[in-house]
């Protein structure tokens, strides 16, 4: 056999078809949450759940359309999105940094670790008035509330990731003459990346949950406010439009993070 074996074009196509199918399956899977709407529709139509309180998706579609046509919904979405984005960044950046620092330095971990563990379970709802006292009743206090929630998720997930870094990678950096900061940047950060993304996804979901609660306070806009105000006045259809919208916002944020994860953590399974 003097000529090396090569694959024919058909074989190459067959080889690639697998990953193309994978991609298709993934795309289809993004729509699986629609099953939930279907289930809800069925439960509501068959009277399994009380339609006065849980109107079928088809019946809230009208309200949704109205709110969309009047562009009202977009103001709420925009307000919520802005708050979530600012709070998310404010919480995630220090969370990741402190997770990396405490993960790499045992002495700092010894001192600060228990302090964070003690601060974490402080009930947010109880300190809310105190946050209002410091940051005012405007958006700043909402950013802070979200940032606090995001911070701890990022902190613990990053820390957990750093603590799992195989010693050999740290040794490699050290042997390559890496400074503390370089070890941080080029070893700890990428190595903890899968855990950081777990944290980012959890934090994304949590942000929307928190903002939904935080917009009950001192806000006149936002999807959370809309849900709460609708519930207070028993405008059930409007409330459910809000719930679906905020859940969808959270869902798309998580999808976006998963796409980023595939891009930035190409060495991991997905």
């Amino acid at each position: 056999m003097s000529k090396p074996y090569t694959l024919s074009p058909e074989q190459i196509a067959r080889l690639k078809s697998h990953s193309r199918r994978e991609k298709l399956h993934r795309t289809i899977s993004y729509f699986s949450p629609l099953l939930l709407l279907l289930l809800w529709e069925i439960c509501s139509q068959t009277g399994l759940i009380d339609r006065r309180f849980f109107p079928a998706p088809s019946s809230i579609a009208g309200t949704a359309w109205q709110m969309t046509a009047s562009l009202e919904i977009f103001d709420h979405i925009w307000a919520t999105l802005r708050r979530v984005a600012v709070g998310y960044v404010l919480g995630a950046v220090p969370g990741i940094l402190l997770g990396l620092i405490l993960g790499l330095s045992a002495p700092i971990r010894r001192v600060l670790g228990p302090i964070f563990s003690a601060l974490y379970p402080v009930p947010k709802i109880a300190i809310l008035p105190l946050i209002l006292l410091i940051f005012g009743v405007g958006d700043a206090s909402k950013y802070v509330v979200i940032a606090i929630g995001v911070f701890f998720l990022m902190f613990y997930n990053t820390l957990g990731g750093v603590m799992q870094i195989p010693q050999i990678y740290l040794d490699v950096a050290r042997n390559a003459g890496g400074s503390r900061f370089q070890t941080f940047r080029y070893i700890a950060l990428p190595s903890a990346m899968p855990n950081i993304f777990t944290g980012l996804k959890l934090a994304a979901g949590s942000s929307y949950i928190i903002i939904a609660a935080a917009e009950f306070l001192g806000a006149r806009s936002g999807v959370g406010f809309m849900i709460w105000a609708s519930w207070q006045t028993f405008a059930v259809s409007r409330m459910f439009v809000g719930i679906v919208v905020i859940s969808a916002m959270g869902y798309f944020t998580i999808l976006l993070l998963e796409a980023l994860e595939r891009k930035f953590v190409p060495w991991a399974k997905h």
Binding site: P129, G218, T233
Partner: protein
Amino acid sequence: QAEDKPQIEFLYSPFADYAPFFIAKDLGYFDEFGLDVSLAPKSGTAETIQMLASGNSLAGAATWGAGLFNSIHQGATVTIVATLARMPDTVPSPSPFMVSEKAWQDGIRKVEDLKGKRVGIPGPGGFGLYSVAKALEKGGLTLDDVEAIYLPPPATAAAFANGGLEAGWSIEPFALQLEKEGLGRRLVEDHTFGTELGFLAFNNEFAQENEDVVVRFIAAFLKGARLLDNGGWNDEKILDIVAQYTGTPKDTLKGISYTIRSEDGSIDLDSVREQEEFFRAQGSLEYEGPIDIDTVYRTDLLEKANALLAKQ
């Protein structure tokens, strides 16, 4: 014998307005009338109505507001049988409209001065909103003349302290504490004289099929209410009970004005109609025309309860 007693889970909120139920429970009035009642705390009108209408709970008390009107319109199958509480026609009011100390120092001394200022309201669609609108009316203002900010009382304290609010709704015992700490002052107190606050309601089916039980329940409630409204507030034993259910220390409860109710437990429908109109004007109601209160409000049961109580 105790097993035969009808069991009722009653939904309440941990506020002093619900005190007659606490008394009826702890002083054994419910037992006296042959009922086995358990009290379950609930956060708001919407939940309570929903629980009652769906039949998941049999009885509860809640407050008037857009939520209640809308839910009745949507076919919430509840039977309203008696008042929960109403505002007294005297000052000091249990729910004064307050101005922050800061604003006071800055020269805001009258309602008129609040034009364009930030005013705290506990939430849309409820008594708080109505009450603030009434207070503003005293100075010729409407809700549109101020910047309404939704904040519950604890957050109001913070907002008064850091200048986040110039004025706002409040309620006892919080109002007194605000004064004590030098955070706020009473600005208007006579704006909601006689306003109906809430009602006692049952699940429809249950009320139809167990009129007797409902009557006995109301009677026990009325007995508690009368005890309370006729000087009961000064009784140590009663204060102990209220303190326990509301989580408010007894010393705080003492000497504070509270909501009252009509002797016979009847609802002042005019006040209810006025609130409905107010919320319609606010655009909070999802229907046209006045709601048919009479279809859900049954006075016959209340009459029987009064008779039963009189017989006792």
